[in-house]
């Protein structure tokens, strides 16, 4: 079965090609083709997972892609337990979201194209996951970037959407800049880009530590861009301009997790290089805290979720930075489920009220029971309430920090967890409970159709149960399947469990007080911490900062350079041209007046002379006679005198 794993990404690609070339006019056919393909991939993925469960030894398959005497670059597929888990997770979430989209995107004029993009995304993402060399991965890495771009800008008539797409592409491209250079460094350090071979070389210390750190950090830049880590996190909130299922699939569950996945793949390097590990962990921790704090005050439902995503991704990166391979990937998996659920729930709400602003919602729980219930489940999960899946994965991260002695990072993580619980329940209470703030919108709201709610229910089920595979008491759980170097068994740490539960509950309780009971007024709080509030509300002014320090100067530079091009280089060219023309002008003058002048001058002289002489020939007979006689007189004079 494993050698045919390439079929997993290939099926959606087939679907993409079919839709683009044949089915673009048929909405039904294209959506069903796409869903069928992703379901096929899901089935294959499950088969692969089953096989890998039986034999967890990593396997590598390669074909020649560029093959020269002195340069070889194969396409590699690499199947190990992490891959197996990831393909299942990706194809599962993708299938659910594609089904959900049947309802959400219903009636969109570019419905077929939406499914084409979705298929292309599934292809790229699955390809990225099964890739076995960093080069292969980079190819799919860029392709998911493209599909992300296309899907963010799906409603490109909105300028803000197309702007967001461009921003996402370019911001991640900046990360890829590092990634690509990292690839080059790695290629020349290890002589290959195959993951297995690189890990082998790293393991046997065949590569200098400095090189490992450099290559690793450079490649990690790609992860920073893709997973929206500080300082390249700015694109993700804007990316929410895309259709909500897209946000759920790409910008919450799968694509943004690619950065985490890459970091996980770089684990041997992280373990080897302490510097790299520290950088990764600090970036993760900082991002987790920063994004969560921004999330506290945002009013756009999707943006809150976006900052939540950034924060959770920070968690994963933090975990990986601390060496928690199992913890990071475990959280990646659980997060995919509950974050997809949250987004789909948000989509369901938006579908009902046609607004993103939570200040115009309220009381919707009474009308949208399924949505509300699943949303609450997901919120509990992300807040880390026992025994939902978020609890187990988050707990594992805390445990890693605890075991590794990273107490500062632990405090940061706990703080972020508190904020997460607070803003999630702020969202829940404001949207689903209390009085409707906008009566008209409330009146029009109704529960979404079945093909939207069924994925919600499935995801809710997963949000509860998926974490159970990693319960610490389990002997053969997640940690004994997906691990790095040796199975990771965290002893159940009851202190941490209690702390995390207390923190989560206190966050929820604060939200309850402020937004359900209203005993603490959010407005007053905002008044009181006005300065902090404003900074948070404006997302620490990152966009403005980048605008002022990078984008605007670049534009100005381009204008200057163009002026330089026209004014200096082209001017020089034209100057030489004109100068030559001037020289030839002088030469021409010389030619005209001196060389030609001599020739023409002779002609002119003769002509002028003749013109003068012509006057003598008057045609007057008597004039001639006069001259004749004058001649006679002269003759006689000469003869006789």
């Amino acid at each position: 079965m494993l050698p045919y794993s390439w079929l997993i990404p290939a099926l959606p690609l087939l679907s993409f090609v079919l839709i683009v070339f044949f089915l673009i006019r048929s909405n039904k056919a294209s959506s069903y083709t796409s869903i069928a393909a992703i379901l096929g991939s899901l089935a294959l993925s499950v088969a692969v997972l089953a096989e890998v469960l039986g034999n967890p030894q990593p396997q590598e398959f390669a074909i020649n892609w560029i093959f020269m005497e002195s340069f070889k670059l194969p396409m590699v597929m690499y199947i190990d337990p992490l891959t197996a888990v990831m393909v299942v997770m990706v194809s599962l979430v993708a299938s659910l979201i594609q089904i959900y989209s049947l309802g959400y995107m219903h009636g969109d004029p570019r419905f077929a194209r939406y499914y084409a993009y979705m298929s292309l995304f599934a292809f790229s993402m699955l390809g990225l996951v099964v890739a076995g060399s960093f080069f292969t991965m980079f190819i799919f890495w860029e392709l998911v970037g493209l599909t992300s771009y296309l899907l963010i800008g799906f409603w490109f008539e909105k300028k803000i959407a197309s702007d967001a797409g461009k921003k996402a592409f370019i911001t991640t491209k900046i990360g890829d800049f590092g990634f690509l250079i990292g690839l080059l460094v790695m290629f020349f350090a290890a002589g290959t880009l195959n993951m297995a071979e690189i890990f082998d070389k790293v393991h046997h210390h065949e590569i200098a530590l400095g090189t490992i750190t450099a290559a690793g950090l450079l490649m990690f830049c790609g992860a920073i861009g893709k997973s929206a880590q500080f300082p390249l996190h700015v694109w993700l909130p804007d990316a929410m301009e895309g259709p909500t299922p897209v946000s759920a699939l790409i910008h919450a569950a799968t694509m943004v997790a690619a950065g985490v996945y890459l970091t996980a793949r770089l684990m041997p390097l992280v373990i080897t290089s302490h510097t790299m590990a520290m950088v990764v962990a600090i970036i993760g921790a900082f991002t987790a805290l920063m994004a969560a704090s921004i999330g506290l005050v945002q009013n756009d439902i999707k943006r809150v979720l976006a900052y939540s995503t950034i924060s959770q991704l920070g968690y994963m990166i933090l975990a990986l930075g601390m060496g928690g391979y199992t913890a990071g990937t475990f959280h990646l998996m659980t997060h995919a489920c509950f974050k997809a659920l949250l987004f789909l729930g948000a989509g369901s709400v938006i579908h009902a009220v046609h607004t993103n602003d939570i200040q115009e919602m309220g009381g919707l729980g009474r009308k949208m029971k399924t949505t509300a219930a699943t949303f609450f489940i997901a919120s509990f999960s992300i807040a880390g309430i026992f025994p939902l899946s978020g609890f187990w994965s988050k707990d594992e991260i805390f445990a890693v920090a605890w075991e590794g002695g990273h107490y500062i990072l632990l405090v940061v993580a706990v703080l972020a967890a508190f904020m997460t619980a607070f803003y999630m329940f702020r969202l829940c209470f404001m949207v689903f409970t209390g009085k409707p703030r906008d009566q008209e919108k409330y009146d029009h709201a109704r529960e979404s159709p079945k093909n939207m709610t069924i994925p919600l229910v499935i995801l809710a089920f997963l949000s509860i149960t998926v974490g159970w595979v990693g319960i610490p008491w389990l002997k053969h759980g997640y940690g004994s399947f997906v691990f790095f170097e040796h199975p990771h068994h965290v002893a159940p740490n009851y202190i941490l469990m209690v702390i995390s539960t207390i923190v989560a509950l206190s966050g929820i309780y604060l939200a309850y007080l402020m937004y359900y009971k209203g005993s603490i007024s959010p407005v007053k709080m905002a008044e009181r911490f006005k300065r902090i509030y404003r900074v948070l509300f404006n997302k620490y002014y990152f966009d403005e900062l980048y605008m002022a320090t990078i984008i605007e100067p670049t534009y100005r530079l381009t204008e200057k350079l163009y002026k330089f091009d026209l004014g200096v280089i082209d001017w020089l060219v034209n100057f030489f041209g004109d100068f030559t023309v001037f020289l030839s002008w002088i030469q021409e003058r010389f030619d005209t007046y001196v060389v030609d002048g001599a020739v023409n001058g002779l002609g002119y002289t003769i002509r002028a002379f003749g013109g003068g002489l012509r006057r003598i020939q008057t045609g007057q007979l008597q004039n001639y006679a006069f001259v004749i006689f004058l001649g006679l007189v002269v003759f006689i004079l000469l003869r006789f005198l």
Binding site: R614, Q617, T618, G619, Q620, L621, Q622, A625, F626, F629
Partner: protein
């Protein structure tokens, strides 16, 4: 009367004819002046014949030829004058410059 008298007479007559030739606008007048010059020449011929070769009278023979040529000249000249007059409604010599260039 000596030869000189005749020669001087003929010289004066010749220059008078020349004056006419040079100044007359009327073509007929020009022809007349030419006749005067012919006659001046004839006087010379006859005078030389009388005083220098009195026995051969070659001068007289020549003057007969000259008179003949003068008659022919007058005939052709006047015919041309008539033709010009018919074509140009005028016989002013200084207007007849169409052969110029």
């Amino acid at each position: 009367m000596t030869l000189y008298h005749y020669l001087i007479l003929s010289a004066i007559l010749f220059v008078i004819g020349m004056y006419g030739l040079l100044t007359r606008r009327n073509a007929v007048g020009v022809l007349m002046s030419i006749e005067l010059m012919f006659n001046a020449a004839n006087i010379n011929f006859v005078a030389f014949s009388k005083f220098i070769t009195p026995n051969e009278f070659i001068g007289q023979i020549f003057s007969i030829f000259v008179i003949t040529i003068a008659a022919a000249e007058a005939a052709v000249g006047l015919a041309i004058v008539l033709l010009i007059y018919r074509n140009y409604k005028g016989i002013e010599v200084d207007n007849i410059n169409f052969m110029k260039w």
